[in-house]
Symmetry: C2
Subunit: 147 residues, 2 copies
């Protein structure tokens, strides 16, 4: 399973917002510049994070984004799923999951689902506050290349 | 993460072979018919399983496939990966994994990798012998629809 750029950017944007002073708003341009994320890419991700209840957006010239709740209450899972989509597959999607009651097929999917549930539980336990505190990408290590 | 048809068919084919009398060979056509798997689809999967060391193939008119080792020694993971590809992503594939040493990015990927490793560990612990013994799809439940 792959953490996509969408998922990664979502986590980086949220980590950036987590270190802003309480109540302060960050514009898309500011986040894009500080995290070196293409602006249009980021705009979509921020909308998805807002829809997921992770961020709040305020319109207007002085508007921008902030976290909708404390970083301790935002799970890694919430952010990744907002960014790159659900980590639980839609039931029956493209598979033979419907085995018409055959114990073999039920068991094949039950083992898979158990492993996937454990995968998700780990990302659910992890909070944004568990990640290292955001620091500018140029300090103290070499700056990141543009994506 | 999704168990694809390829992965599912690989598991079903191996479960079928696991109940054949020791040393007996099954032809592609036989497996395709008994498990209701499209023949061409199955032929590719059996080749991949052979390449992965799960099956042995014997050529000729009386040839066919059998397990390369006891079902207790074949993991769910081996079979699924032979069928649908590696469950560990190729490092850096399409992601910003190379964060130039930024602790935030390293940690984002470390949490993801930890969850994925646990997912794989569960499928590694599961053996083909842990699945219900193969029975014909028509007995005792309704037959499966053709894929």
């Amino acid at each position: 399973m792959r953490l996509t750029r969408h998922g990664e950017y979502a986590l980086r944007a949220v980590a950036f917002l987590a270190v802003q002073p309480q109540g302060e708003l960050s514009s898309i341009s500011e986040i894009a510049t500080r995290e070196n994320i293409p602006r249009n890419f980021l705009a979509k991700i921020l909308k998805d994070l807002q829809r997921a209840g992770v961020l709040k957006s305020y319109p207007g010239a002085a508007g921008g984004y902030r976290l909708a709740k404390p970083a301790e209450e935002i799970t890694y899972r919430m952010v990744v799923e907002a960014g790159q989509g659900s980590l639980t597959e839609p039931a029956d999607a493209g598979s033979g999951r419907n085995g018409h009651g055959r114990p073999l097929i039920s068991s094949i999917f039950a083992h898979w689902d158990e492993a996937n549930a454990e995968f998700i539980r780990i990302l659910e336990r992890t909070r944004i506050s568990d990640l290292p505190k955001w620091t500018p990408s140029g300090q103290p290590t070499a700056p990141e290349r543009a994506a």
